[in-house]
């Protein structure tokens, strides 16, 4: 009797395999008059907020593009279609979904996931399938040094940050001389913190402390206590918004009070100031975009214009994540029009040689595919608002120094 049950069960297993196999063989039709963009986004999991912002950004661009009849491809207007998947904030899933976007949904262009780590993972897939990929939110050089030909990133390289930062702080009086660095043990935060640390030596700062804290750290008191004892003039913390809220809170509680606290990246988000209230005041940070930048482009208009649309739609202050995502669409838009084709190799060539202005700022890609036309702005939170300090031409505030 056992035999029969087992046998039948085996048949039971195999039957659906057959059926599914046959079903699989069919379809995937592609409509000729649309351009398909695909994006695997972190819509659930720890990065859910960022994922949602990315989606909102793409949608703003897509609606604008389609409301004008689509993208002009060699004289023919083609509508934009987006395919989204949720990668649950897990890179392996992002790569899996990127493959699906390419092979099943047959997208023409891939829009990157969130952050340097996942972008690095997905870029390997885009490269293998030779599909153009635009990464809105990956700024670490290590993502772009793999020799990939199909990857383009909108954010200015991390390397653009130190000069702006140190230009600003070295002019201060009294001049700060010592720095402490603490970073989340994670791709982007580590990359940018180490870059700043390296640069600080060039600018003659003494490096009093460096430490990494783990992902999901729920207590920052130890390193804060050590930092307090070392008494640096500047404290730089690399991490994500959850880490930085906790670090800011605990720093205040423990009376850690350097003249400057610089955090990457998180204070740029509305939620940071909302969560911390006045405690967020006088924290410095940097961003790749701000609505105050006097940028202007053909598709979306000015930076302020984008911020308005965003505010109307989502009742929220726009930040660089949403803007860069919309800008990814804009870049693809302009490149396709320039190429007059949606063929991957032609689009790649067009993006590589693109040199244009957008609401997100000037766009120009270097050999690795990073946007060197863009800038990084340094700001400080004052009265819970971001005040741009650098570059001076777009600044709307003065640095409060030292922190009271």
């Amino acid at each position: 009797m056992m035999n029969r049950v087992a046998r039948n069960t085996l048949g039971f297993t195999l039957a659906p395999i057959f059926v599914a196999a046959i079903l699989m063989t069919a379809f995937t039709v592609q409509a000729a008059d649309v351009i398909k963009f695909g994006a695997a986004l972190p819509l659930t999991g720890p990065l859910a907020t960022e994922g949602k912002k990315q989606q909102n950004g793409f949608e703003i661009w897509r609606e604008i593009a389609n409301s004008r009849g689509g993208i002009n491809v060699g004289g023919k207007k083609m509508k934009v279609e987006m395919v989204y998947y949720d990668y649950e904030s897990k890179s392996p899933t992002a790569t899996k979904l990127a493959e699906r976007l390419i092979t099943k949904d047959k997208v023409d262009i891939l829009i990157g996931p969130f952050g340097s780590g996942a972008t690095k993972a997905v870029a390997a897939i885009a490269e293998r399938y030779k599909i153009p990929m635009i990464a809105p939110t990956a700024s670490s050089e290590a993502v772009y040094d793999q020799g990939y030909k199909h990857l383009f990133g909108l954010l200015a390289p991390n390397g653009f940050l130190p000069s702006g930062f140190f230009d600003t702080v070295t002019k201060l009086n009294p001049k700060p001389t010592s720095m402490a660095f603490v970073t989340r043990n994670d791709f982007f935060p580590k990359a940018i913190t180490n870059m700043m640390r390296k640069a600080s030596k060039k600018y003659g700062f003494t490096d009093v402390y460096y430490a990494e804290f783990p992902k999901d750290s729920k207590d920052m008191s130890t390193w804060l206590t050590v930092v307090k004892s070392k008494n640096p003039d500047i404290l730089m913390v690399g991490g994500y918004v959850g880490d930085l809220i906790l670090a800011t809170k605990q720093a205040k509680e423990l009376g850690v009070n350097p003249k400057i606290i610089f955090m990457m990246a998180g204070p740029v988000y509305q939620q940071y100031a909302d969560a911390l209230g006045d405690t967020s005041n006088n924290i410095m940070s940097a961003a790749w975009w701000s609505e105050t930048f006097n940028y202007k482009g053909r598709v979306i208009g000015t930076a302020a214009n984008f911020a308005d649309i965003w505010m109307k739609k989502h009742n929220q202050v726009a930040d660089y994540v949403g803007a860069a995502s919309a800008a990814s669409g804009v870049v693809a838009h302009l490149a396709i029009e320039k190429a007059g084709s949606i063929e991957a190799s032609k689009v790649i060539a067009a993006i590589s040689s693109l040199k244009t202005d957008t609401f997100f700022g000037p766009v120009e890609f270097n050999k690795g595919g990073q946007n060197i036309g863009s800038k990084i702005a340094i700001f400080q939170i004052q009265q819970r608002q971001r005040k741009t300090i650098y570059p001076l031409d777009i600044s709307d505030g003065k640095l409060v120094y030292p922190r009271p």
Partner: protein, 288 residues
């Protein structure tokens, strides 16, 4: 001085860890459920506090009982309506069940409240005072006090009250307890409710001391797990001991080996305790 400060930090952290873990320990000990939902209750308690503060300016210490009571009832009915249905199935089945519920709960929270980090920022949030050069942050002290209060209160409840006794009886010998006229379904629901309520209370203050978001629940869950094992499964005072040990290990470990290994050291202690004394620091051997 720095050592003294870190010692104080550790102890305060340990007390808070106890507050987070004590309910988890209770459910594990009494019902043999590895309750993945624990972090979710904590997070929900935090959100109740946050919204009451954000919308009506209610102080977290005032809304704390409310969070606790709300979570008690939520937990009570989840156990009564869902978990009780399969409580005698294998340990892994209840694990999968609570895991499934957690997925639903977190998605709902994401849907309603987005993934933004929230924190209750009261007037006194960053306030701290000094005792002989050692800084003692007020909110942390309150969390520590809450940890003591919750573990102490639960200990008292289990030791002295009629219901507490019934819970213990069910844990020791379900069938004998039934013969005494105990209705295990209700006792389980009560136990689970208490655990959820404790998580809700802890969550209320966690929202003041940390940043919460719907997805932070697993981080607190992982901590609860380590704390419970180190202290001893299902042992109430063990949660306090486990919390303090973990607090000390994490902080002094971070000092000597760098903060990067903070979490790794937690797991190292977990394994060490399992090798040396599987029943946990305060656990009774042989209890399953």
């Amino acid at each position: 001085m720095i050592y003294l400060q870190i010692l104080v930090n550790s102890v305060l952290l340990g007390g808070m860890y106890a507050a987070i873990a004590v309910g988890f320990s209770l459910v594990w000990g009494v019902m043999n459920i590895l309750n993945i939902l624990h972090g979710t209750f904590l997070m929900l308690g935090g959100y109740i506090t946050f919204w009451l503060f954000h919308l009506y300016g209610v102080d977290p210490f005032l809304s704390l009982p409310l969070s606790a009571v709300a979570m008690f009832f939520l937990g009570y009915f989840i156990q009564l309506g869902i978990i009780n249905q399969v409580i005698r199935a294998s340990f892994f089945m209840t694990l999968v069940l609570t895991f499934g519920l957690e997925l639903i709960g977190v998605k709902m929270a994401l849907f309603f409240w987005t993934g933004d980090y929230r924190s209750v920022q009261t007037e006194y949030a960053g306030y701290s005072f000094q005792v002989g050069g050692v800084v003692i942050p007020l909110v942390r002290l309150a969390l520590f006090g809450l940890g003591l209060l919750l573990t102490g209160g639960l200990f008292w409840f289990m030791a002295v009250t009629r219901t507490g006794r019934a819970i213990r009886a069910v844990r020791i010998d379900l069938e004998a307890a039934q013969l005494m006229g105990v209705n295990p379904a209700k006792i389980y629901a009560t136990t689970y409710g208490i655990s959820a309520g404790l998580a809700g209370a802890a969550g209320a203050l966690v929202s003041a001391g940390f940043a919460i978001s719907p997805v932070t629940d697993v981080e607190f869950l992982a901590k609860s797990f380590v704390i419970c094992v180190v202290g001893g499964l299902g042992n109430i005072t063990g949660a306090l001991a486990g919390g303090l040990v973990l607090g000390l290990v994490e902080n002094f470990g971070a000092l000597y080996f760098g903060p990067g290994l903070q979490n790794a050291l937690g797991y190292a202690v977990l394994l060490l305790v399992l090798f040396i004394r599987p029943s946990g620091l305060l656990g009774r051997a042989g209890y399953h």
